[in-house]
């Protein structure tokens, strides 16, 4: 059974988001026709929300909530799936200067997977770092569709996928309720837990999906008259 997940989201637990998880799930239920998600993965900035329990909300809305992290490294931002106590002891997630290669290698050893996100973004994406330094080893997948991308960024991400043969995922990178699920990942297999997610991410059997609406051209608007 296929599973569609938004792999990159920020709730109010992240310092730059004010979106309650409940509002995200309600929005997904309301917009299911245009953004058919089975669940979301919370990837809070520089932290792992170890004690959060969203089971009652999952039951209420029928949407799965998994937890992961977005950390910052010398090769840009990286999503860490399958976070466990071993990883939290080994790495200070709040450190914005983590070593990307070490993180990628150690996370796999500890049973998870690290996925560089928005690789086409200046400074915090792989693309720019690859122009100056050797590519990272053991990268399985990167995020090629990101709901917060500026012009050209997703295109650069896609170029990396072509060049290095990475698998490709999508995520909204949502910081606002109404932006949840704009980009997501469709997995061929069934996912019901973080362990399932890590297994499926390693399998390569998935594709990024784009639910961003096409925008109508902006009409010319009048200037406000000021004295």
């Amino acid at each position: 059974m296929a599973t569609t997940l938004d792999l990159h989201t920020h709730s109010e637990a992240s310092e730059d988001s004010r979106a309650p998880v409940e509002a995200y799930l309600n929005w997904i239920r309301l917009r299911h026709a245009e953004r058919p998600l089975d669940g979301i993965v919370l990837t809070e900035h520089r932290q792992f929300n170890r004690d959060a329990d969203y089971r009652h909300l999952e039951d209420k809305f029928g949407v799965m909530v998994l937890r992961a992290s977005e950390v910052e490294t010398n090769y840009g931002h990286v999503l860490v799936y399958g976070v466990n106590e071993d990883m939290l002891r080994r790495f200070d997630f709040a450190n914005i200067r983590l070593d990307a290669q070490e993180l990628i290698d150690e996370v796999v050893k500890m049973g998870g997977l690290a996925v560089p996100c928005h690789p086409g973004r200046p400074n915090i994406g792989l693309y720019e770092h690859y122009e100056k330094r050797p590519p990272l080893e053991n990268v399985v997948a990167v995020e090629v569709l990101n709901g917060g991308s500026r012009k050209g960024e997703d295109e650069r991400s896609a170029e990396l996928v072509r060049r290095y043969g990475y698998s490709a995922v999508g995520g909204s990178d949502s910081h606002l309720v109404s932006l949840i699920g704009l980009c997501a990942t469709r997995f061929a297999g069934a996912i019901r837990s973080v362990d399932d997610l890590v297994r499926e991410l390693k399998s390569g059997d998935y594709e990024p999906v784009d639910f961003r609406p096409r925008r109508k051209p902006v009409p010319h608007a009048e200037a406000v008259q000021t004295r």
Binding site: R18, A19, A23, G148, V177, V218, P219, H220, A223, V224
Partner: protein, 138 residues
């Protein structure tokens, strides 16, 4: 007069399209006591590495606040009790900006509505994002 019962998750604010001129930007900056070059003088702004003058963050906040208070209406019944903004990309004047919002959450007990708001440029880039909370009298 708007009441809490009128408000539903998914309702929209705008989109409102407004051309914000350099002249308006300068006038805001000067009147708000922010005469810095980056808000008033293209040459000076370019020296700071900007493409030209940009709107002060407070001006973007003011325009988003207006989106919400216009939605509330002129005859009361509700007030904005919180507005939070993030300046993601500098907002350049002499462009048509789009102001937009969505009701994303409501709390019945407190009669409050949570609203996503943002400012986009012509290329649909979200330059400023924010959230607002509106409290209804009844």
């Amino acid at each position: 007069m708007k009441t809490f019962a009128d408000v539903h998750i998914g309702d929209t604010l705008g989109p409102v399209h407004q051309f914000v001129s350099k002249d308006q930007c300068r006038k805001y900056a000067n009147s708000a006591g922010l005469p810095a070059a980056r808000f008033t003088d293209d040459e000076g702004a370019r020296k700071e590495g900007l493409p030209g003058i940009i709107l002060p963050g407070n001006m973007s906040l003011g325009l988003l606040s207006k989106l919400v208070t216009d939605w509330i209406g002129y005859d009361g019944g509700a007030r904005m009790i919180r507005l939070s903004t993030t300046y993601r990309v500098p907002v350049q004047p002499d462009h048509t900006l789009t102001f937009q919002g969505f009701i994303t959450h409501t709390t019945e007990a407190e009669r409050r509505a949570e609203i996503d708001v943002w400012i986009e440029n012509e290329e649909a880039e979200r330059l400023v994002t924010g959230t607002a909370t509106v409290q209804f009298d009844k």
